[in-house]
Symmetry: C4
Subunit: 218 residues, 4 copies
Amino acid sequence: MDDDSPQGRWERRTQASLALGSVLFLAAYAVLVLAHGLPSVWRDGCVAVMLAAWGMFAVDYGVRWRLSGEGFRFVRGHWLDTVVLALPLLRPLRVVKLYEAVLRRHGGPRLALYARVIVYAGLSVLLLGFAGALAIYQLEHAAPGATIRTFGDSVWWTCSTLATVGYGDVTPVTFWGRTIAVGLMGCGLALLGAVTGSFSSWLLQVLAREGDERPPGS
Amino acid sequence: MDDDSPQGRWERRTQASLALGSVLFLAAYAVLVLAHGLPSVWRDGCVAVMLAAWGMFAVDYGVRWRLSGEGFRFVRGHWLDTVVLALPLLRPLRVVKLYEAVLRRHGGPRLALYARVIVYAGLSVLLLGFAGALAIYQLEHAAPGATIRTFGDSVWWTCSTLATVGYGDVTPVTFWGRTIAVGLMGCGLALLGAVTGSFSSWLLQVLAREGDERPPGS
Amino acid sequence: MDDDSPQGRWERRTQASLALGSVLFLAAYAVLVLAHGLPSVWRDGCVAVMLAAWGMFAVDYGVRWRLSGEGFRFVRGHWLDTVVLALPLLRPLRVVKLYEAVLRRHGGPRLALYARVIVYAGLSVLLLGFAGALAIYQLEHAAPGATIRTFGDSVWWTCSTLATVGYGDVTPVTFWGRTIAVGLMGCGLALLGAVTGSFSSWLLQVLAREGDERPPGS
Amino acid sequence: MDDDSPQGRWERRTQASLALGSVLFLAAYAVLVLAHGLPSVWRDGCVAVMLAAWGMFAVDYGVRWRLSGEGFRFVRGHWLDTVVLALPLLRPLRVVKLYEAVLRRHGGPRLALYARVIVYAGLSVLLLGFAGALAIYQLEHAAPGATIRTFGDSVWWTCSTLATVGYGDVTPVTFWGRTIAVGLMGCGLALLGAVTGSFSSWLLQVLAREGDERPPGS
């Protein structure tokens, strides 16, 4: 980050705009999906914002690829950016990078390993879940025989799915809804497994330390 | 605990009353929720008990903050107390502290690490689950289209949720019911993960030791 | 086991009869629950077998307590036997001990740690699941509004519960059915967690070893 | 693999044909199950392909048993091949071996341990899930009272089962469908547990390394 290479300078300069872009992308998508009675001009505005954010990421990706001079190896080394480029729903995952940058800038105490995992994976799950709930709502709420009719249902379904509880009181019924649901299960469960595992390890560590700190004469 | 600082003395003196207060709080809430035909005066009594317990915790929190002389750092360092102060439903978690104190007073053999995790996390899950079942029952049993109609349904729902089984034969349908349900999933699953993981590790350890103890000639 | 103390000799002598007793207990319970048109005399025979097996365990427990000369500490040290004594449904768990004894007698190669965990916990889950399915069937199949109507439904429900999948197409509806279901979740999930965890560790170990064995020049 | 023993040479020679055979077996089964209006001659062709593939594996198994000169120990040492021989649905698991062979032939960089587990277990889950979805569809779609009516339903059911979410909106109702479902839960969950556990470990490792690489002055 502190290096003076062209890539380093490019990343420092574009950082804030890209983070803003990812937040705007998600916000525009949320408005587009959730605001039903929106006048046509607003809807077009939202689409424009989304396209602009998308274009921004594409340009950033292209410039960084060019600067790296790595060819195909760049695609493999930056798979998260590649995924984000291809699937706009996952774009908010870039926010994780911003969060890390903010933490660094403040020069706060370095996070412990478990805290890092919980922050990274937890934030990813949160963003992924929100984007997933939006997408499921958009695809399902007007389908014939749908049980997910409101955005509240969609969020409830997402939470019960990510916790692997799966009540089944509301479930996606369309092909694309189910496809996104399977993707959400795949990504979400792996990430949540990391969060739960880290939390358990952290709890074990805290309790082990507390046991050691107890004075022997007590 | 054995130190003679003002904080140490304060904690030793208030310990028993706070534990009693947390049990009373939960009991009063349970009576308030479960006893339908209760005369008005009793209901007011329950509310008074809950408010008194709440006030007790607030005073205790304030005094300890004052004595610590730490300012904002106290809030971060005692996050459990802060959470308990804000959300009365979680108050019973303080009982875990009492249990620990009782264990210490009896000077019994120090618990092994896995036993500590199982006791702490298991008891938290139990109390959290009971409070959650009460809250869900209160919010759901009179809602239109509700499937959770009795307290038994609510306990059954809580158990199947905490085990991540999630049958879906009874599910919360109101906004606040679902909000509490999501909170219960989040806390409960992380804690239960700790319990299950500790149990597995303990089983592995026991079986490994048993294997070593077996005489070579057998 | 090879010691010549009274306890050791008692255990060696009663071992086979107790194992037979536990199998008979489960078999008699299965016949009692599953065979509907059984003549009254057979049913009484089944009950007699169950009572006899129960009595055998009670006598064994009493004699071992006496021989140990430990008083209350015996109850804590042999908690599995105590649980088995109180809850006849869990009696088959004693079979695990027999299995271990058979393995030892054959002097076969000592099982690896993960294999031991998988055998112990897996067998416990199997027996617990079978006993649980029987109990759920007995309690539910005639209840008003029941969805578990055949023993096949009960086994299917048990499997989907132990795997934490929980479809909810069939679920217990009676108070005691749900109580046993919660017990099954508690015990079964902890044990299954141990099995799954051991399997993962074993897979990791096998693949790590395989990776090392690969000749460097390949 | 590089040894010049008869077994080594046999394996090198038959490798490609066996892999092709396993793919053909799965493809023929998929066509047989999914293509309803297929003329009789095509169906017979599919069955012939399946039988031929089966025969190929049987011959391969027999020859390798003969060459090993190990008798019964061969069955225990090659349990995967034995399982595959008995249960044609699991045959595609052999593809995992091919994948490994292709990786080796290309002499690419050796996969890290976690990547190996994820590739092996993940591919197994994928193939097992596809075969399971086919079998469930074949057994269920014409059963009275069935909820799994299309192949899409079957795939959706398989995904929600393997993730232990288990919505229960579609579930198998026939005896054999439920039997296969239980097998799928057993195998799938253990393998998925390995994938999730490895992913968590890998994430922890990546984040731990990233934390170390950060320059101290940043």
